[in-house]
Amino acid sequence: MNDNDLLDMLRRDPQKGLEAVVQQYSAYVLKIAYVRLGEVCTREDIEEAVSDIFLMFYNAGMKNSFDMRSVRGYLSVIAQRHCISVFHKFSKADKTLDYNELENIIADNGTDEDSLIDAVKQLGEPDSFIFIRKYYFGQKNKDIAKELGMSESTLNSRVSRGLDKLRKILKEEKI
């Protein structure tokens, strides 16, 4: 079932649609939550966060009649925001996540959402995948390297070169 089918179902029968969304995306949302919360939460707390994320998605959809272009995209944003919030709640040693290199580049260039997405897309594959994994979902380099079947040193150099490229793209666009 693709996102359009899911959205149709959600609009026709929200509860059935919600069930279908959970069936389809629970592995995905669990992965997002596990990457962000795995070090500070129990598995049970992570599952709780995942169910809260689906509930937020459902409530948001009920509010706007599921007027959204992508279930996956919508869930991704809600999941990230909620997981960061939960991270802050559970993290005892370090109450905040540091701003990462990409976020600092964005700040330096006053980048907006469209420009950032354009720039990430311009990186091409697999670098755009790496960047979203690392900087959006917060996945660790070694885990990204393992999942993408490359060495960690290769990944590190791709990240480094990608950051330079991204900085250049954003600067050019700013001009």
Binding site: L18, L55, M68, R133
Partner: protein, 340 residues
């Protein structure tokens, strides 16, 4: 231009996220979940959504939070909007501020009553931390804080103001701002907090509203800064604002009607006693003015312990903790009993 670092999670919006679908899909390629995990999550979600679970509800889980969302239809109806700048978490951004006025922070979170509706200017961030509505009044907690270069700098409740209008037409509903009565020296540096209290008489709560925030600078007038909305308030003064957030005033807490021996009605909700008429005197100066009556007829004096505010003119008394209306059979106000 705002050059403060911004979280990617905040920069990527729900409306723009679809453009990253390929990247998100790639990330999900190796995502795995066991049948049992999926079943637990599905059961939890559906239970929270107040939906009827057929098979999954009867399976074997006894989860730590399994009973947290009893009566969840209330929370499921809470407005959680994906509009820009407005989103909701289950965790408060300023829990200590919420609990300064409403002690049941955990309960509010569990019931999805953490609103976390935000809007900001270059140097001020406004957060409606929670917004409860019993259909008669909306009652919430607002935190305002300096950000950016001004982060941590002193902020007064008189430095800003809030106007509430209908989201669809901009039509004026009310102004709402704090007074120095809310300042008690326990605020965080660069931050203020206050109660928002909105009389819903004549307000169509089915329509979304906008909170229009503005600084009270530089003119010193409540209408002195920000953009014109094109609307005017009840005194024909143009409404200005600098940032806005959308919210819902739909009923999201329980209430019950109570009557005295002459048939006069008051409403007891989870956060207040309300009457549309002038029905009682200043309870703060009247001994034993307010008592809650439980199912067994026992009376608990709340006058000096559980009240955050009162209004004589159209009569409400707000509590500093949620009241379980199921456990209450009535109230006594200045010696007069109001019962179910």
């Amino acid at each position: 231009m705002n050059n403060d670092p911004v979280r990617l999670s905040e920069l990527i919006s729900t409306s723009g996220a679809h453009r990253l679908n390929d990247e998100f899909a790639e990330f999900s390629a190796n995502a795995e979940i066991t049948d049992e995990e999926q079943q637990r999550i599905l059961s939890s979600v559906m239970r929270k959504a107040g939906a009827e679970m057929k098979e999954t509800m009867t399976t074997k889980k006894t989860r730590r939070h399994s009973r947290r969302f009893v009566g969840f239809m209330i929370a499921a109806a809470i407005a959680v909007t994906g509009a820009a700048g407005v989103y909701a978490y289950n965790q408060f951004f300023h829990k200590e501020n919420v609990e300064h006025y409403i002690k049941n922070g955990e309960q509010l979170e569990e019931r999805g009553l953490a609103a976390n509706i935000q809007a900001q200017t270059d140097d001020l961030r406004f957060t409606v931390d929670t917004l409860l509505s019993d259909g008669h009044q909306a009652y919430g907690v607002l935190t305002v804080e300096h950000i950016g270069d001004k982060a941590g700098q002193a902020l007064s409740l008189r430095d800003y103001a809030v106007t509430i209008v209908y989201a669809d037409t901009g039509e004026f509903i009310t102004n709402n701002w704090g007074g120095d009565a809310y300042i008690d020296g326990t605020e965080k540096a660069g931050q203020t907090r206050q109660i928002i209290c909105i009389d819903l008489t004549g307000v169509d709560t089915q329509r979304d509203v906008k909170f229009l925030f503005r600084r009270d600078e530089p003119t010193g007038s409540f209408y002195g800064s920000g953009k014109l909305t094109g609307q005017k308030d009840n005194n024909d003064i143009p409404i200005r604002y600098e940032c806005e957030a959308t919210a819902s005033l739909r009923k999201n807490v329980e209430n019950i009607d109570l009557y005295d021996s002459e048939g006069r009605k008051v409403t007891l909700s989870e956060f207040e006693i309300y009457s549309s008429e002038v029905m009682w005197e200043d309870t703060s100066s009247t001994k034993n003015a307010l008592k809650l009556i439980d199912k067994d007829g026992n009376k608990t004096d709340c006058t000096f312990t559980d009240i955050t505010g009162y209004m004589e003119t159209y009569s409400y008394i707000t509590f500093n903790k949620l009241v379980n209306t199921d456990d209450i059979s009535g109230v006594e106000i200045n010696g007069i009993e109001y019962l179910k």
